[in-house]
């Protein structure tokens, strides 16, 4: 069974990738935020740049900010974005 998640991108990440969201079938073994980020980075080009390892990024699962080790499962809404700058 494949794992389908919705992935959202915001701010500078969204601009670099040229998209704000996608539905994704996750391959086996991709079950955390960190693993998903590595998986997406492997697409190369803008993905390798926007999600580069050295880049400080934040992530959310189902609209809660989480650490890179946080698990993801089927049906989750995942988001990647730069550190926030509101207020």
């Amino acid at each position: 069974m494949r794992l389908k998640v919705r992935v959202l991108y915001f701010a500078s990440i969204r601009e670099k990738l040229g998209r704000d969201s996608e539905e994704l079938d996750l391959p086996a073994g991709v079950a955390s935020i960190a693993a998903l980020r590595t998986h997406l980075r492997a697409r190369g080009g803008a993905w390798a740049d926007a999600l580069a390892e050295a880049k400080l990024l934040r992530a959310a699962v189902n609209q809660d900010m989480v650490s890179p080790a946080a698990p993801i499962k089927a049906g989750d809404e995942v988001a990647f974005f730069p550190p926030v700058t509101g207020g």
Partner: protein, 145 residues
């Protein structure tokens, strides 16, 4: 408790009055953040934004005696001197009102998913997050869950 993420401006006086009705309230502390120097566009994560601010307010209510509270944050295009954010806290006494207001603001800066893009003469650029903001939130000692 009222949380609003909106494009429209807000009226500080009206918002303070709206949370001041309870006769147990002896203090209302408020903070208004303004756009400095350059025009900007604010992006946010609809849904998560309201949820994140709600969690911060609940945490403030668990630490201090908060009788009522309003948080308004604008998004979209804003000009220099425009109001961006309002936090107003009503309490029995000023200590709780001041502390809760500052706490909510500090956490909002690091936890609420907003991003500012400034329109500078050299072109638009995303504002970088400040480590000073993380430190300001960090001084409240316990991480937000």
């Amino acid at each position: 408790m009222r949380i609003s993420v909106q494009t429209e401006d807000f009226d500080l006086g009206a918002e303070v009055k709206a949370i001041s009705g309870n006769p147990k309230i002896g203090a209302v502390a408020s903070f208004v953040g303004l756009v400095r120097d350059v025009a900007m566009t604010l992006e946010h994560y609809p849904g998560m934004t309201e949820r994140a601010i709600g969690k911060i307010v609940v945490e403030a209510q668990s630490r201090w005696k908060v009788i009522d509270c309003t948080v308004i944050h604008r998004y979209g295009a804003l000009q220099p001197n425009d109001q961006i954010v309002l936090v107003a806290v009503a309490s029995g006494h000023r200590g709780d009102a001041f502390a809760a207001c500052e706490f909510i603001m500090d956490y909002l800066k690091t936890q609420a998913p907003f991003w500012k893009k400034e329109q500078t003469p050299e072109g638009a650029r995303w504002v970088e997050a400040k480590t000073a903001d993380d430190e300001a939130a960090g001084r409240w000692t316990v991480p937000l869950r």
